[in-house]
Amino acid sequence: MAVVLAVCTLVVGGCGSGGEGEPEGTGNAMSRQAVDDTTVSMLVQSQRALKQGALRKSLALADSVVHRAPRLADGHFQRGRVLSELKRFDEAETEYRKVLSLDPQYQGAWFNLGNNAYRRQNFEKALRYFQNEQEQFASASTLVEIGKAYGAIGKPDSAQWAYERALSLDSTAAAAHARLGRLYEEEGKPEAALRHSRRALELAPDNVNYQYVVGSHLFQLGRYEEAIERLESVIEKRPWHQEAHYNLGQALVRTGKQDKGKRYLSAADSLDKQQREIERLESVAKDQPDNPKRWKTLGDAYRRAGRLDRAREAYSIALYLRPTSPTLRDQMAQLAAERGNYKAAVTHYRTLLRRNPNFTDGWFNLGVLYAQNGETEKARKMWERVLQQNPNHPRARDYLTSLPEGDS
């Protein structure tokens, strides 16, 4: 049955270049072509898979949509999004161009092109793309991106204009306030900077970056006690936040708490080294986007740093490049568990063990996952399976011994 694809909940997603949890654009996808139910379903599944980090599946579904309905802009748009996530920016750009050739009024296409260009540090190009989006679909979020691009090419006055314009369109645009705050900070106006960063935080109280920026502005103004409170809260939520550690350490030293301050400064030093290593690995992965080892190494580094969302992104790319790797699937499962996503972790293990039933570590780790979830009987079965494959597996034996009798 053919239906008109009326509303598709596309989010112009995964493209926020600032990583501030800002709104990432408003997707549209008013299709002008009639498509069948299966195609619509595939599109929706592709979006869902992308959200879960199942990039290969997401791309396969998007490919299928394009194959079934080559003149459907939404299919190409979705393909562009997946390719962006895979850091295949040239191919993503081609897809977005196809979108615009099919539907010049497609909301989000110029925006995502802009984000891709920004990520590749081609700020002037990014600016042009964002401006194109803005001409067709004026929005505060696009103006914020325009402001960022202006800032990146050394035009702070224009950036300020863009942020103020964003606020005139939507006075609740937290990202615009946050960015204005940064501009004022750069201009040597810390009071104005604090005013805007505080407003951003009022509008998005859960945004940890905004919490940090407020703390940092308080520190710059010499309001150390207030800064300490704020920065401690940031570190509680993001233990890897190097800047918060540094500013907190400095604030503590300046309030006479030398020893505690030095401990935070020392931690900041270690985190700085860790961050630099991550940046190096990011650069290596970007240079060799087809090398799964590079992405896995990057994912490992993110994971060690506690940055689990980023780790998932990197592992997802690695897994896309090497879908049959049991080790990678195991890593994805462990990561899902660490992120508190039990269901996803189990799904990963089931997929892994279906394809690689002799992967003993998979059975063992699934057992651990079950045990941690209180499902002792399931855990017992997994570890017994481990011992069938490897009777000398010491940890499986120990764990089995430690299990209480009976089902949970």
Binding site: Q121, N122, F123, E124, A152, I153, G154, P156, E185, E186, E187, G188, P190, S216, Q220, Q242, E243, H245, Y246, N247, G249, Q250, V253, R254, Q258, G261, K262, L265, S266, A268, D269, D272, Q275, R276, R280, D287, Q288
Partner: protein, 552 residues
Amino acid sequence: MTGCADSASSPSGESGVSFEDVTKRANLDGFWHRTGAFGEKWFPETMGSGGGFIDYNGDGRLDILLAGGGGWEESDVELKRALWLYRNDGGGRFTLVTEEAGLGGVEAYGFGITVADYNNDGHRDFFFTTLNRNLLFRNEGDGTFTEVGREAGLTAPPEWSSSAAFFDADNDGHLDLYVGNYVKWSRESDLFCSVDGDTKAYCTPEEYEGAIGRFYHNDGDGTFTEWTERAGFRSSPGKTLGVTMLDYNRDGWMDLYVANDMERNLLYENRGDGTFEERGTVSGTAYSQSGRVRAGMGTDAGVVDSTGRPTIFVSNFSREKISVFRHEGDGLFQDRSALSGVGRPGKFTLGFGLFLFDAELNGTLDLFVANGHVQPDIEHIDRAIHYKQRPHLFLNDGNGRFEELAVDNGPLTDSLVARGAAYGDYDEDGDLDILVTENEGAAHLWRNQVREGEGENAPRYLRVQLEGTESNRDGVGARVRVERGEDVQERLLRTGSSYLSSSEMTLTFGLGEQSSVDQVTVHWPSGEMDRVENVKANQTLRIVEGKGREAV
């Protein structure tokens, strides 16, 4: 200058300062810095070189010494001279005298020049940092130099050194030497760095292990002993490019600030006995405001506002602001990069040579930064950044707030691949001229015209030369205060600073419209103090330790 509102000229439009490129007229246009590059893109090629001012023959005129760069055995590029010494003949003309000064046969891949009279014989010597063995040239007092590095005890193994500073760490009257080292690099260990994965690009310091700096104690008999560990310099992570000195806690013992490239910067506080404690991180001078490490290049320090406290400046990589750290007391510094006004304009340039000087002669220290990128194809990678870049001249409003001088023509509009930068009054007209060196390029001499054509209205100056007796002969480390009423200017006589370069050792105080000052006070490193009262403007005052004023 603290206060001094009646003589301060405002930045940009109202400033009378301008510069004229006199390189050719001065006969310096024969110089060309060589990197030796022949396609291999070896790391050292991007970093050199420097130069500076030295009155090598004691005639009172500033001569110019330039590092010529280097060559490789594998390269066809010929290095004419490792050192280029130009004698100032007066009248704005220079003559190349490298060979007759005994410097013609020097072989080195050279970087930095640091000038001082290390043996207190009244003749300016210099230290030359290189890619291999560093060289110490003793001035024989007859217009020639002899290289005495090994016999003077500078026996470190070959290593890539950058900026150095002579200073009296233990106040014993003899200048010690700190040598900043960069990374452990050799042709054999050269790495293939690339932006696109195929084409080789110049590496950045992250790829190499840092080489620690070295400290040499001057034994007072013309020789040095390495005291790197004993003096507390062993913990350095290396990757040093800039070194400056200051006495931020005013205890009379010289402290040292070291700018590092992608390592934390270091603040060595003198414990009061010639040994040091590194306090960079805790003092707030090691990192950016957000605690991130930066690519520090050149550095200088001075009092730029009415607090009387020193501020440290560091030039950094493109997309990193110029660092500005003001001492707030108790050994803690505040990052004033944004507040000072130099942060934003400096964000899109890659600064190397950097120094504070009173360009306008209005009594406030202004800031000059020489810029130029290290990757020739940077514009393909980041279109907002250029390989050749204009320098910055930031004028100080007297409160530590700077505004970039806006000019439409003249040498300050020239885009260069600049590295070294130094100042000195080569034409003896009382204002400070600028020397800039380029990578694989020319040296540029820019004459300051701030006093030109103004007649009686020209801004006035006072130049102060020091001669230590109990202290080191050059008076390095002496703190000089010039006072008129409540207006106070203060300078520290330092070596090192900037990047690979040496500025003149005469201190210049801008007096604006003032025709005299009430007193000039010298606080010598020995602890002695000399004071000269009622000093007229527009003269060079020579003060000998323990004797006060002496005619020049």
